[in-house]
């Protein structure tokens, strides 16, 4: 089994969807989450606060500095994600299609590195 990150991106400055759309999206995501759990593919998932709430911490030679805002200076920022356990990419892509439909946005699928042998 492999693990895959299914990442959802938010575009900074994009129009905010209406409360009805947001509500519908939450309901759909809840439903797909239940299905993922029932199928045994669930590892973890969550939605993130907007990227302007982020802090970047750098530790270099014992000196720690902090900067306000996200690391990547782009308009597209991680908005939420699933971590799923799947047989192969096809299985992950099949979930991604359904997650994209549920969260009303594109979903990026990325494999995790294999865990090193104990």
């Amino acid at each position: 089994m492999k693990q895959y990150l299914l990442a959802v991106h938010m575009v900074e400055g994009a129009p905010i969807p209406s409360p009805e759309v947001t509500e519908k999206m939450y309901a759909q995501v809840d439903k797909i989450n239940q299905e993922i759990q029932a199928a045994g593919a669930w590892v973890f998932a969550g939605g993130l606060m907007p990227a302007d709430s982020a802090t970047v911490v750098r530790s270099d030679n014992g000196r720690t500095t902090m900067t306000d805002g996200p690391f990547a200076e782009t308009k597209e920022q991680l908005g939420g994600f699933w971590v799923l356990r799947c047989e192969d990419l096809d299985a992950a892509l099949a979930w991604a299609a359904r997650c994209s439909e549920a969260c009303l946005g594109p979903v990026e699928v990325r494999p995790f590195q294999d865990e090193p042998e104990a």
């Binding site: 492999k2 192969d88 990419l89 096809d90 494999p111």
Partner: protein, 393 residues
Amino acid sequence: MDLDRVYRAEYGRCVATLTRLLGDLGLAEEAVQDAFATALEKWETPPPNPGAWIVTTARHRAIDRLRRESTREARHAQALLLHQRDEPREEAGPVRDDQLRLIFTCCHPALAPDARTALTLRLLGGLEVAEIARAYLVPEATVAQRIVRAKKKIRDAAIPYRVPAADELPDRLPPVLTVLYLMFNEGYAATTGPLIRTDLCAEAIRLARELAALMPDEPEVLGLLALLLLTEARRPARLGPGGELVRLPDQDRTLWNRTLIAEGHALVRRCLRRGRPGPYQIQAAINAVHTDGPATDWRQVLALYDQLQALAPTPIVALNRAVAVAEVHGPAVALATLEDVRLPGYHLLPATRADLLARLGRNTEAAAEYDRAAALAANETERAFLRDRRAAL
């Protein structure tokens, strides 16, 4: 010794089978290459079943190679191989289903389209990186990089090595057919350089034949094979003695390959009987009409283009349909159907318009369209053809 012929015929099959045995594409390729290197030393003439010899040798080479390595994956793969040794031993050689699995892996929609073609040619066609680079006129390094990236993604993202289930086929079969179609097309009307590259055409037909043998119930697979065969059949008449392009109505039909035409016609009948027409089947049927009897029945061709347009309303279909419209309803009607067709950068749109304008006696406009077409055509044979047409106005 004809090791080259054996290599071309067996390479893809052997890599496919070794991929199943080893669970790793890169390792499978190395093992098969090792085995062919051994064959080069040992064979005076190829054994009766060269594929089985290569598979067995490659498997032994892979075990040797894995014993020298000590990574977890190597140990895992070695365990698998040793385990399989306990199974009833038979020198079965390459398994055809393995090839089908590999085609679907190489043409997986998660891979970039360019990479799919390069990977299919490399792994299933056994073409060297240099040959693929020559065929597509891109630098060798670019092809090598595409292949390396694609193989890395197959491994890292765990793109499966299996034939998709029936309910997945509607999504997964089209990219495979597209790769074979593009491979043939690039060989038949090369973007640049000599117009026809027979090696690419032959390879596309070989793979389409394999696919048709493996999936005889998929009418679009049969349709694609028929389309390629009926197009290939006319190749001997497509260039004149001076290497110039000869148009369909001017072609010497006695030069057409009758065997391929008979095979193509039989395939068209077979797939259309299933009553599930698709774009490749209809294009094959159009080519069947072109190759039936002493001259093309344009009314039938137009009816088929109407069907194709309903199924796949693309600008290319509209363009090809216009040629049939001109034959049935005249050039003025055909020209009107092209009014809203946009194909930026594609030389055959202005070339077709030029031809229609010339038939209407609108020579000044025709000349301008021929110039536009010649400026867009990347292939010298096609440019020469367009200049000649312009000069003949």
